[in-house]
Symmetry: C2
Subunit: 131 residues, 2 copies
DNA sequence: CTTGACCTTCCAGCGACTGGAAACCCTATC
DNA sequence: GATAGGGTTTCCAGTCGCTGGAAGGTCAAG
């Protein structure tokens, strides 16, 4: 099948598939006589795997590791779990950071009238923080 | 004062200060005879303002808007609050998204033994999701 | 025979920096 | 006066994960 068909079956756009090939995440596929890339079911499964790992926030480097583990019959579940737990720790850090920021802005906005007057605690605080 | 001094007083690295100048976020400063950039107290205050707005997650484009509002004596607090509330909505969306992902990986990791055996629900799920 | 939808390659840009190279400037020390 | 070290200057490249666009080749339908 062509790249467009593989794209719609896997949910990964053609441009992105070519990009994954370029950076070596997936192997370069066979070509048809007209130089079009030819994919099969197995390629589509790989692309779907990648798509799901990406949607879970794994960076491409880790997607590559997951893919290698996925193909390695002798891998242990420990290796996979290690990646997953690292990803969770990373997400927890990011969530905590965003939450802190969100609350800080929330506090500021809560003290701002938001009317036609010019005085604004948000700008005041950016100018010279009180805490 | 030189860029290095302005950097340590404001918390914005020299490279970043030059970058802000390049993209037009801050004005190009006077130069000394040796072509070094010369900053004053007011520049440092501006840089600190930017630094704080950035640490609150405002993208540079919005930092520019905040800066313009900050300098505009006739601005209303409504305009500032609008930016702050948009930022909060954005953060809430991001936090919700990351939390969803975090829980999804958490579920998967919870079902994975993480031992020497090869079977792993994480890879299984990436291969073919059940939900 | 033309239209339109594919496909190919390559190059550029996003945001917000950051690193490095090559050169210049200033001060202090030997 | 040479040298070492710390600034500073410019410019170019790289990060991450794509995405858009240009210029051209290919194919099936009308």
């Amino acid at each position: 099948m062509t790249i467009g068909e593989a794209a719609s079956l896997s949910g990964v756009p053609p441009k992105t598939i070519r990009y994954y090939e370029e950076i070596g995440l997936i192997a370069a596929p066979e070509r048809l006589e007209n130089r079009y890339r030819a994919y099969d079911e197995s390629d589509v499964r790989t692309l779907r795997f990648i798509q799901r790992a990406r949607s879970l926030g794994f960076p491409l480097k880790e997607v590559g590791e997951l893919l290698a583990l996925y193909r390695d019959r002798s891998r242990t579940s420990r290796e996979v779990k290690r990646l997953a737990l690292a990803r969770i720790a990373d997400l927890d850090r990011k969530i905590a950071e965003l939450t802190t920021i969100r609350n800080a802005i929330g506090d500021l906005a809560g003290h701002c009238h938001g009317d036609n007057r010019p005085d604004c605690p948000i700008l005041d605080e950016l100018e010279a923080p009180t805490h």
